[in-house]
């Protein structure tokens, strides 16, 4: 099993529903977020291109945050989902320094927190909250090892990219372009 997400940058309108859904679903403290929207403008006038990206932890296959965690609090769970065990985390910040996507934040209670791909929902066969709430259906989630999963099908007939591939982390968030 290899969980991944594909994000359609052509369909995303940057409404931020995924952000709010995540904050509600996961009880994210006020002022923090586990996912966020980036508006990216590329080129010079008049040939500009605009892209909206819903970003979150990339659940990297080669995850530096897991490698540098001194206590084993950051670890990989079933299907490659990267998680933090709260009562093992000492809040040293090593994982925050090691993440090229700045996907982690120190929770006011001390431990480090981030996107979990809503593993509590995924275990029940549901989608992450952000996926289900998206009004334009631009998020696809599923198992890359299953050729018929939403994410595999989305990646099959579209061009895609990952963010900062040069960081060598093998991210599992794919952006359809």
């Amino acid at each position: 099993m290899r969980y991944a997400m594909a994000i359609d940058t052509k369909k995303c309108v940057g409404c931020g529903d995924c952000v709010v859904a995540c904050q509600t679903e996961n009880n994210v403290p006020h002022g923090y977020c586990r996912d966020w929207i980036v508006e990216s403008v590329d080129g010079t006038y008049p040939s500009l291109s605009l892209e909206f990206r819903s970003e979150r932890c990339n659940h990297c296959d080669n995850s530096p945050c897991v490698r540098c965690c001194p206590t084993g609090a950051s670890h990989k769970a079933e299907g490659g989902i990267v998680l933090v065990t709260h009562h093992k985390c000492i809040g040293c910040g090593a994982c925050i320094q090691s993440c090229p996507y700045d996907a982690r934040y120190p929770h006011p209670e001390g431990y480090v927190d981030k996107c979990t791909f809503c593993i509590h929902r995924v275990e029940k066969g549901q989608n992450p909250a952000c996926v289900d709430v998206c009004p334009t259906h631009c998020l696809y989630f599923g198992d890359l090892d299953d050729p018929n999963s939403d994410v595999s099908l989305a990646l099959k007939d579209r061009k895609w990219k990952v963010l900062a591939p040069e960081a060598g982390t093998k991210p599992q968030l794919y952006f359809l372009t």
């Binding site: 940057g14 931020g16 952000v19 002022g31 923090y32 977020c33 996912d35 966020w36 929207i37 980036v38 508006e39 990216s40 403008v41 590329d42 080129g43 010079t44 909206f52 530096p64 490698r67 540098c68 965690c69 001194p70 206590t71 084993g72 609090a73 009562h87 093992k88 985390c89 000492i90 809040g91 040293c92 910040g93 090593a94 925050i96 320094q97 090691s98 993440c99 090229p100 996507y101 700045d102 982690r104 934040y105 120190p106 209670e109 001390g110 431990y111 480090v112 963010l163 900062a164 040069e166 960081a167 060598g168």
Partner: protein, 313 residues
């Protein structure tokens, strides 16, 4: 042109717009670790070479500072943890992939060694000292008999500690300024140089000071060479590495780095030490104090600047 904006109001404290999760505690900890590593290495070195009598400050007095520096450093590290009550989790696992983990274990080993070392000289340093308990006196006798062996172990751990202070940062490949293999040797050399400087300050023997200054001069030259090498490496690297180098070559850290670290912390003390060795009169504390100051600044700047270098945005 490329412009990227957060449209979801992302503004996480300590993460946006600039990562600033490590504050003064970490550079201080790295400085004190390097200082202790330098002191302990040379104490071991002159013991192994049978020169303990000639190098009293190096072998006996300066090591008094080492456990103090290590404990203060650990205190600073502890202070910076956001989840302090879980501190002990560091010692329930050994994770070789994590520099933070092997740093914690290295400190766990070298701190008691440094204490034993100091304890074995207590009676020599303070004649009125008395261990009160018989078993402590026996332990002391054992340590004194095995000093050379302990010195070897201490030297090895001092090198590991010194390198670790740099590797802690260089292991983070998400921060281009840190992600270079030169940081390990650079921090090692710089730590040793600060250790020598502290010893010079404590030494009352001109011959010993001269010896230490000579070694220190070599370390300063190596350090300057490594710094040049560091920037050459960045400028020949990827775009993110080039941007990291530009923080020091025209960017916001240019003045602090070149003036405080390179000029005042390395070049100037090197000139003073050379003049002193040539027989000119130089206040003996001046080069040493400058080196300590430069070493501290170096760590503050590296930690600060490294955190604002990144791959995205």
């Amino acid at each position: 042109m490329k412009e990227e904006l957060f449209v979801s109001g992302r503004d996480i404290p300590n993460i946006d717009p600039y990562l600033n999760i490590w504050h003064w505690q970490i550079p201080l900890y790295l400085f004190l670790g390097g200082l202790a590593a330098g002191i302990l290495f040379f104490a071991g070195f002159y013991t192994v070479r049978g020169k303990a009598d000639k190098m009293q400050a190096t072998v006996k007095w300066a090591p008094l500072l080492a456990p103090i520096a290590l404990v203060l450093g650990l205190g600073a590290l502890f202070w910076d943890l956001k989840h302090k009550l879980f501190f002990w989790q560091l010692y329930t696992t050994v994770r070789l992939d994590s520099p933070m983990s092997w740093g914690a274990w290295t400190l766990m080993i070298i701190t008691p060694i440094s204490l034993i070392w100091v304890a074995s000289y207590m009676k020599e340093m303070f004649p009125w000292w008395d261990w009160k308990f018989d078993f402590l006196n026996k332990a002391e006798a054992w340590v004194i008999k095995n000093r050379v062996g302990i010195a070897w172990v201490m030297m090895v751990y001092a090198v590991i500690l010194g390198v670790y202070t740099g590797i802690l940062l260089s292991a983070f490949n998400a921060r281009p300024l840190w992600n270079t293999s030169i940081l390990g040797p650079l921090f090692l050399v710089s730590g040793f140089s600060t250790g020598l400087a502290a010893t010079i300050l404590l030494s009352k023997d001109p011959k010993e000071r001269k010896r230490l200054s000579q070694i220190d001069l070599i370390f300063i030259v190596i350090e300057l060479f490594l710094i040049v090498h560091l920037f050459m490496g960045f400028l020949a690297g990827s775009q993110t590495a080039i941007e990291a180098a530009h923080l020091f070559l025209g960017g916001p850290f240019t003045v602090t780095f070149w003036v405080f670290v390179v000029m005042l912390g390395l070049v100037f003390p090197a000139v003073l030490e050379t003049l002193e060795l040539l027989g000119f009169h130089v206040p003996k504390w001046l080069p040493a104090v400058l080196i300590l100051f430069g070493g501290l600044m170096f760590r503050f700047i590296m930690v600060e600047a490294g955190q604002i270098t990144r791959y995205l945005y």
